[in-house]
Amino acid sequence: MIGVGKAKQYANVLDKPLSRGRQEVSLSAFAFLFSELVQYNQTQVDNIAELERRLEDAGYAVGARVLELLCHREKGNRRETRLLGILSFIHSTVWKVLFGKVADSLEKGTEHEDEYMISEKELLVNRFISVPKDMGAFNCGAFVAGIVRGVLENAGFPAVVTAHFVPIEGQQRPRTTILIKFAEEVLQREARFG
């Protein structure tokens, strides 16, 4: 046990009241930290696919914790069990808490039954980032895809989640779409629920 025998306000982090989540830091502080996360991970990889995977892993850790935190704080320890429920929880509650706004859109894929898309005109993590041409379609939104996967998987909805730039007509900058492809077992379970 840490802190034993020393004066400390709380002996254990669990004894502290859970924050209400109203504290803020500057967007810049986050942006510089996120930039450093990307730069560090660039030194650890040989190719862009690995960089995506590592950013996604970092995001996953955030997503898993966000789920815990929000289920406790916002939903009285209840957790979504239905597919549309968990998607709307991510699109609304999670997005609002993490990024200060509800996501721009949540849509069902038109070609595949198991695909859903959350889109954002300007993803917060990409606000200041210009991806060099030689990195092709790489999107730092991989981190956010990881957050989404972390929430989904820990809520019992395993899925493959990826981030993509999608051009918008008449706009200079593409939007980012987070593509969610649910595991087969998830859809089977949904079907049984009816």
Binding site: I2, G3, V4, K6, A7, K8, Q9, N12, V13, L14, S19, G21, Q23, E24, V25, S26, L27, S28, A29, F30, F32, L33, F34, S35, E36, L37, Q39, Y40, N41, Q44, R54, D57, A58, G59, A61, V62, R65, V66, L69, V97, L98, F99, G100, L124
Partner: protein, 187 residues
């Protein structure tokens, strides 16, 4: 002290910048520390890397601070320390630091933080007792000051994660490059 046209107050500064939920920041930092522990294994290496990452951030962040706070050149290290404590911490983290424990020469002092957004939800596990969790902050200070020609050493002397009653970092000015002719030696 700053000139008449000078900087905004810390609160006004923080109110004027875009802000995000501190939890996004805290959890992202946690994810970085976790990655480093996995990649580097040795706690000592993680401490070094966190300090290096902070340094990198500091070298970039200092320009934003100067551009948006309107502070002008500080006359000495004392004034610089005050500006960092009252405006720097506030502008980026929304918290204020106290400057204390000046030595007689005026070249080393302490920043004391009572509130530290990096550490919400954090408890050091037994395997990481040597982890300097907040090393990124000391790195930022060192990096930022180096960009305005002040070489410093920054070390943690109190850490609430280790049972202390506050966060305290000691900043020691080791070398101040004269401002007048910065090109003399290199050109």
């Amino acid at each position: 002290m700053p000139p008449a046209t000078g900087p905004k107050s810390g609160d006004a500064l923080f109110a004027s910048v875009d802000r995000v939920n501190a939890e996004l920041f805290t959890l992202t930092y946690g994810a970085i520390v976790r990655q480093l522990l996995t990649d580097l294994e040795e706690v000592e290496e993680v401490n070094k890397q966190l300090d290096q990452m902070g340094y990198n951030i500091g070298t970039r962040l200092v320009d934003e601070f100067l551009a948006k706070s309107n502070v002008s050149r500080c006359v000495d290290f004392k004034e610089t320390a005050d500006v960092i404590a009252k405006l720097g911490f506030k502008m980026f983290l929304g918290v204020t630091a106290t400057v204390t424990n000046w030595d007689a020469e005026g070249t080393s002092c302490s920043f004391v933080l009572e509130d530290n957004p990096l550490v919400d939800f954090v408890e050091l596990p037994d395997t990481c007792q040597g982890l300097q969790y907040c090393n990124v902050l000391s790195g930022v200070i060192r990096g930022a000051l180096e960009m305005v020609s002040m070489k410093t050493e920054v070390t943690w002397v109190r850490d609430m994660l280790r049972g202390d009653d506050a966060y305290e970092m000691r900043v020691k000015l080791t070398k101040q490059v004269p401002e007048e002719y910065p090109y003399k030696d290199d050109d």
